[in-house]
């Protein structure tokens, strides 16, 4: 969903703030593109659907229902398949959520970000802490055990204590899934400009590290499994959709600026492709209307590139890259043959950052926090 009511101070997503959205037309295009791409990918069965973006809770339940119907019409969509909707607390009241549930949504991801009004204002969010609380409660009522909340840390001026308190408050409120994001000051955002201009302080590296460690420790103590760099779940409430993304499964991306990774069997493709749809909504709609989809770029991924992505994504998870998954991408050379040989990976294992054992290759607790320092070494070894 490419539209927003207001741009947040930290956001550089492909979203557009326009006075009036022709929802019927956009919805029709989403349906059409979904059909085309499912056909292109010769998709038999869909394991999960994720409505993300601007957020899609601004769209009507009818549009969501229409897309889900199109998916079910083009491929098998099992009754239990995970269907997640991203939602903002400011566009989430119980009747509206009920409407989405009726449309087929069975998991909700709420952009709470913070439970402190001052922080929310700094982030340029439309909602207050009280509204966030009400939204979480409403969501939990309708999607018990399947409501996730997003939290941001590393805000300019945020102290370690403030973060710890926010985390405690969130723990008291949340369901079984939490996503924690460190605020990235993206170029072109209002917040980044303020930090660069010196009106806001830039959070020190060591403080960010402290905050991350605090969160990991607190959440794990509260019974959460730290199953991905930024994601925590208890009672098995992992996000199936995102997990398949980190496992480098195939997925299609529908809508302006959406990205996908799949083999376009339907048009004679044999190799996995990285695809990105046209970002500007108007251009995207024109393309969908004329050719059925608005694919802007298609890049065939070489076997090495696929392995590089698998490594980069897979190591973000606590299960890492299993021997089985590796074999799926690279049957001719085992994970052990690549990373068990003397080289960077072995050194990183000796230093306690990495583990290679019977289940696969993964980061240690300490290694996960410095993954971006491990990856260049591992990519070097992989390329050899």
């Amino acid at each position: 969903w490419p539209y927003c009511r207001k741009r947040c101070s930290y956001c550089n997503f492909n979203t557009y703030v326009v006075p009036a959205v022709d929802e019927a037309a956009v919805g029709a295009c989403l349906v059409r593109e979904a059909r085309t791409l499912l056909h292109l990918g010769q998709v038999q069965s869909v394991t999960s659907v994720f409505f993300g973006g601007g957020p899609p809770s601004l769209a009507s339940p009818g549009s969501v229902a229409a897309v889900l119907e199109a998916v079910a019409g083009a491929a098998h969509l099992p009754a239990g398949a995970e269907v997640t909707l991203e939602a903002n607390p400011s566009s989430t009241d119980t009747p509206r959520l009920a409407g989405f549930r009726a449309a087929g949504v069975n998991r909700l991801s709420l952009g709470v970000q913070s439970l402190d009004d001052a922080e929310l204002r700094l982030l340029g969010r439309e909602h207050t802490a009280a509204e966030a609380r009400r939204a979480v409660e409403a969501a939990r009522g309708l999607f018990p055990g399947r409501t996730s909340i997003d939290l941001l840390f590393g805000l300019p001026g945020q102290s370690r204590d403030a973060w710890a308190q926010g985390l405690e408050a969130a723990l008291g409120l949340c369901d079984d899934h939490i996503s924690l994001y460190q605020l990235t000051l993206e170029r072109g955002t209002a917040l980044a400009a303020q930090v660069r201009g010196g009106t806001l302080p830039s959070p020190p590296q060591d403080l960010l590290a402290d905050m991350y460690h605090t969160a990991r420790t607190v959440l794990v103590a509260a019974g959460f499994r730290h199953y991905e760099v930024s994601n925590f779940a208890r009672k098995g409430a992992l996000s199936i959709h995102n997990l398949s993304y980190w496992r480098a499964d195939q997925y299609i991306g529908v809508g302006p600026g959406a990205h996908g990774r799949f083999v376009p069997w339907g048009e004679g493709g044999r190799r996995r492709e990285a695809r990105v749809q046209t970002p500007e909504p108007v251009a995207w709609m024109r393309e969908v209307q004329s050719q059925g989809h608005g694919t802007r770029s298609r890049v065939v991924l070489s076997p090495l590139e696929q392995l590089e992505e698998l490594l980069t994504l897979g190591l973000r998870t606590d299960e890492g890259i299993t021997h089985e998954r590796w074999g799926h991408f690279c049957p001719q050379l085992s994970l052990r043959a690549v990373f068990g040989a003397p080289g960077e990976a072995q050194a990183l294992q000796e230093q306690g950052w990495l583990l290679l054992d019977g289940s696969g290759l993964r980061c240690t607790w300490a290694g996960l926090a410095v993954l971006d320092s491990l990856l260049p070494d591992l990519l070097c070894q992989l390329q050899r």
């Binding site: 990235t184 990285a274 590089e308 410095v370 320092s373």
Partner: protein
């Protein structure tokens, strides 16, 4: 460094393309015209002189006017001059030199041959200046009527004075609004002991009183003392390289005559040549039948390299040896710097660019060198800082080469005490260019460092700051003189290494650009030198070792450690960055380990951009230099080793 003016001139003889129209080689057809008979100019009607001046005081404008008045170049050409200058020269206020030129001038019924011999304008080339001056009997000393005497004016004056030349003081730019020729005349009187009424006030730009300068040249400068009947004795005072004809040597005849077909010998190399062509410079080469004693011109004699026609060398006729002219010495580099291509794939291109540039500049010494961090490159020796800068700038501008130039170092010396080392080197005093060759203090009785005598001319309000700066640079005051009510001349003996980095920039900035600086070689002095190593987690980084003065060790060590700390990326472990003298650690910085380095914002975003970034990091990782377990990017070495030019 903008210390000086004309400096590029020496090696700035460029392919014809670069020269102003009146400097371009003539088409061959014009060569065919009748050769001039130079025998009509006996010694008595010859005057050999130079123009010397501080940068921008109007030396080349005056030269242009002299050439115009004597009909050597046409007046209409002058407007083009500005456009045709080299970029490097334009930026530095250095103009293409009007080369040496023979001017013909009739004064009171006598035809005179006036040879204007150009000199490089900076004491980086003081030796070459002194050789050029030794072909002269007088100089025109140009001083700006507004700026007055500057550091280089002083240095140039003393070179001429010591060579016992007649000096014609000229105050230029009297047309300027702020011109104060009276004040300048007083400065000249006070500093140089020249009566105020001897100064000629001119405006070279407008041509005012320029004719008078020519008349003074004839009246005040004596003709050369020599005889055509003597055996040939020719001083080489400049040389250039022509791709078709080989070396073109500019010569001044101190005796005898020379013509095509003569067999000549170089007193320095003892090599024999046959003269193919002789002629005068007007300022283009114009062949003549002969050159006679007292005259100045050029010769082509099948020399293949500029090193065969070294400045200061004496040429004589085969089998008629003469006493060589005094003062010959080979060019001696005083400042060394490593030069590396930014990208190793550019190595061969850079190599050929260096070869072509050094063809015309034999004073640059080139030795192959390599650094584990920076790859294959060269260690270049220059006569001085400006020489280095201009060379580098020409490389960039004329050959489009982007290079890494390391911070300059100076040649130190060690007097050995260890019999073993003395035997090894075959002498008891060695020159140290590379810190790796630095002998430890137990085998040395004394270390020596090169010094220079610096001249600073400044408005008096900056004196306090300048004295503090000089003291900080270990300089010793030798002289301080008010040249008028508000201008002061200071003389300091500096260790050369204290000025090679940023002294001039510091001086300019603390005097708002008003102080001028010049220096001359002042030999070696004993110094408390040590070798400082930089360690990363205890492992020495060879390319960061340096030889420094004991008093500066702590500050330099600290600075290097700090710079390295900023240049090395955080890694998975803590890194100790230390400066050490022998086993003693004198400075330390600690680069903390990464505790968190993972983007905690991934889902929702396409991995493509992240993959590109990671792959770029992986690529650069391959190029990093491993010191122990520490990965040091090439960039970090560059940032630490590179000369800071933008301070």
């Amino acid at each position: 460094m903008a210390v000086a003016g004309r400096t590029a001139a020496r090696w700035a003889r460029l392919p014809p393309l670069w020269l102003p129209p009146w400097l371009s080689p003539r088409p061959y057809s014009s060569r065919a015209k009748e050769k001039k008979d130079m025998s009509v100019y006996p010694v008595e009607s010859i005057r050999n002189f130079s123009i010397i001046a501080h940068v921008d005081h109007g030396k080349s404008t005056l030269a242009d006017r002299l050439l115009e008045i004597t009909g050597t170049i046409s007046k209409t050409d002058r407007n083009k001059q500005v456009l045709d200058k080299l970029q490097v020269e334009r930026e530095r206020g250095i103009t293409v030199k009007a080369q040496s030129a023979s001017l013909f001038y009739n004064h009171e019924g006598i035809n005179y041959l006036l040879n204007l011999i150009d000199t490089p304008g900076h004491v980086d080339f003081s030796y070459e200046v002194s050789r050029s001056l030794s072909a002269c009997q007088g100089v025109i000393l140009v001083v700006d009527a507004n700026e007055g005497i500057q550091a280089q004016t002083v240095a140039n004056f003393y070179l001429a004075f010591e060579a016992q030349l007649s000096i014609i003081p000229v105050i230029n730019k009297i047309d300027l609004k702020n011109a104060d020729p009276e004040r300048v005349e007083k400065q000249i009187e006070k500093l140089f002991d020249i009566p105020t009424d001897e100064c000629i006030r001119i405006s070279a730009k407008q041509g005012t009183n320029v004719e008078k300068v020519l008349q003074k040249v004839i009246e005040k400068i004596p003709p050369p003392q020599c005889n055509t009947a003597d055996p040939l004795k020719a001083l080489v005072f400049d040389s250039t390289f022509d791709h078709y004809r080989g070396v073109i040597a500019n010569v001044a005849l101190f005796g005898g005559e020379i013509a095509k077909g003569n067999k000549i010998v170089s007193a320095h190399t003892k090599k024999r040549y046959e003269v193919n062509e002789v002629g005068i410079l007007t300022p283009n080469e114009q062949p003549t039948h002969k050159l006679y004693a007292g005259q100045v011109g050029y010769l082509v004699a099948g020399m293949k390299e500029v090193t065969e026609a070294q400045i200061g060398d004496t040429l004589f006729l085969y089998k008629q040896p003469v006493e060589p002219l005094p003062g010959f010495k080979s060019a001696k580099p005083m400042v060394f710097a490593g030069m590396y291509p930014v990208d190793q794939t550019e190595y061969n291109n850079l190599k050929s660019a260096l070869e072509r540039l050094t063809l015309n500049d034999s004073s640059v010494t080139v030795h192959r060198d390599s650094s584990l961090a920076l790859g294959a490159g060269w260690r270049l020796g220059f006569l001085g800082l400006l020489h280095m800068e201009v060379f580098n700038q020409r490389l960039e501008q004329e050959y489009n080469m982007s290079v890494i130039l390391t911070a300059p170092t100076v040649p130190y010396k060690a007097v050995l005490s260890s019999p073993k080392l003395i035997k090894e080197h075959g002498k008891d005093e060695i020159t140290i260019i590379n810190p790796a060759q630095f002998p430890d203090k137990f085998s040395v009785s004394e270390y020596l460092e090169p010094t220079v005598l610096g001249t600073i001319v400044t408005p008096h309000e900056y004196i306090g700051k300048i004295i503090a700066l000089c003291q900080d640079r270990r300089a010793v005051q030798k002289d301080m003189l008010y040249i008028d009510e508000n201008r002061v001349m200071l003389k300091y003996l500096f260790p050369l290494n204290e000025i090679v980095l940023d002294f001039y920039d510091a001086l300019k900035s603390l005097s708002s650009g008003y102080a001028s600086f010049d220096y001359e070689d002042a030999g070696y002095q004993a110094a408390d030198l040590i070798k400082m190593d930089i360690l990363l987690n205890g492992n020495p980084v060879e390319e960061l070792s340096s030889i420094i003065h004991h008093d500066k060790a702590y500050a330099t060590g600290k600075l290097l450690c700090e710079r390295l700390k900023e240049a090395i990326p955080r890694q998975l472990f803590e890194i100790a960055i230390q400066a050490a003298i022998g086993k003693k650690i004198i400075a330390r910085e600690t680069l903390k380990a990464y505790r968190k380095n993972v983007v905690a914002k991934c889902y929702g975003g396409d991995i493509t951009r992240k993959m590109k970034l990671l792959k770029r990091q992986a690529e650069s990782k391959k190029l990093m230099r491993k010191i122990g377990n520490v990965d040091v990017p090439r960039d970090a070495f560059i940032r630490v080793l590179k000369r800071e030019t933008d301070k």
